[in-house]
Symmetry: C2
Subunit: 226 residues, 2 copies
DNA sequence: ACAAACTTTTAGTCTGGCCTAAATTTATAG
DNA sequence: CTATAAATTTAGGCCAGACTAAAAGTTTGT
């Protein structure tokens, strides 16, 4: 137990999340995600790469990746975060666009005991309110399944698997039109050149179609239905 | 909103708590309570006394007291702490000797929204699990009622009002023999020269008497019954 | 009243985590 | 292949909040 700081936890979590998309993580991407100057990121990265245990692999100008020790910490923090989101939503009545900010602070502070207790109360859940998989206590994590809705074409039917949770205004909008995990949607129409997708929500086709722009459909991940 | 740090919150809370006993608060007492070197306390005190808004009144070598601004912050933190203790106990099943440590960390991090939500769920409670009064959102606080059990004499009957919550081993012991807020106790005997107090717990006098030393009876506050 | 003992403050340092400005390295476009 | 642009690192600082060692102030006991 080496007393990992709040800041280090946030760096490792951010690296993990960026690594999911893009293999190596760039200084700039990290700086932007953390709201910090690029020079600060370089400084922190050097510590993470030099101190023992090493949390990242780092080659100058070449980006950074997590070591397995780093990944373990990241998954612990993400487990805290996602369990907290679900707990805030289910037990305290937070709406799904409010949970992220609160969990962001609590994740660094709760004990393992707290973690275990809310996990038990929630029935050892596998997904958070946005559909993201919750890592296990052992440090494994299920596949964040689904493909971007933006890739579908007219006529296809799908189940919403998860939704990016970083934009709280977007989450409010999506909840308003019924786009939440497990909702069933049908692509009514797709305009060319990355034009809006027209989507009906719910099993009935009598619901109104909603026109969703690229930014929105890139934030929604779905699983195709046969 | 001046972004009050975690450390400042703990200093103000500690000053408040020490002030309850002893009017002015000494550097050493504060250092011991916070687990920090006296020199560090002097440094922080100077900031608290110089920055605007001033949180403490301070005269060199003469100790420190809270200003009303400082008191307000202290009571906010204490409200968080005590609501959290009760929530952890009631909603998450923590025992009363475990709640303090967890609340100590969470108190600095929860939002006003979180505070409001747990207060509502708990029914806007007035006391925490140890019988301490919970400050209101407006910054008032009820009297921490009761007198030390050590002051009673043989034959007196009383209701337990509250128990010092800082020693977790003591709390476990007391819970084991039934000394919790609202328990009724009778002083069976008192040995001279600050000797142990023999106390029966519960309304029936057939219960065994427990011998409690000064350190213990100083930690228990009671209200005399007629 | 005064020395010893205790308390408190000063002086000087350290670490973590951030910043800006300037230098350097890598990528890109003609 | 070079010139510019973009990304990254270095250099130099700042601030909060701790520390130790030494100085100064206060209390106490005789
Ligand atoms: Mn965070
Ligand atoms: Mn989420
Ligand atoms: Mn605290
Ligand atoms: Mn308490």
């Amino acid at each position: 137990m080496e007393a990992i700081s709040h800041a280090v936890e946030d760096y490792l979590k951010a690296i993990y999340e960026l690594q999911e998309d893009t293999g190596k993580v760039s200084t700039n991407a990290l700086a932007e995600k953390l709201g910090v100057a690029p020079a600060s990121v370089t400084g922190m990265i050097k510590k993470l790469a030099e101190d023992r245990p090493r949390f990242v692999d780092y080659e100058k100008h070449r980006g950074v990746t997590l070591t397995s020790a780093g990944r373990k910490i990241a998954l612990e923090v993400i487990r805290h975060h996602r369990l907290l989101e679900l707990y805030l939503h289910q037990a305290l009545g937070y709406s799904w666009d409010e949970v992220d900010a609160e969990a962001e602070k609590l994740e660094h502070v709760i004990s393992e005991d707290f973690e275990d207790r809310i996990a038990t109360i929630l029935g050892n859940p596998e997904r958070d309110p946005h559909g993201d998989p919750i890592p296990t206590k052992e440090g494994t994590i299920a596949d964040p399944c689904g493909q971007p809705l933006s890739g579908l074409t007219a006529g296809q039917q799908a189940r919403v698997a998860r939704v990016r949770d970083d934009d709280s205004a977007l989450l409010r909008y999506l909840a308003g039109i019924g786009i939440v995990p497990d909702a069933v949607i049908v692509v009514a129409d797709k305009a060319p050149f990355n034009g809006p997708l027209h989507v009906r929500v719910g099993p009935q086709s009598d619901s109104p179609a909603h026109a969703l722009g690229k930014q929105v459909t890139d934030s929604i991940y779905v699983e195709l239905k046969p």
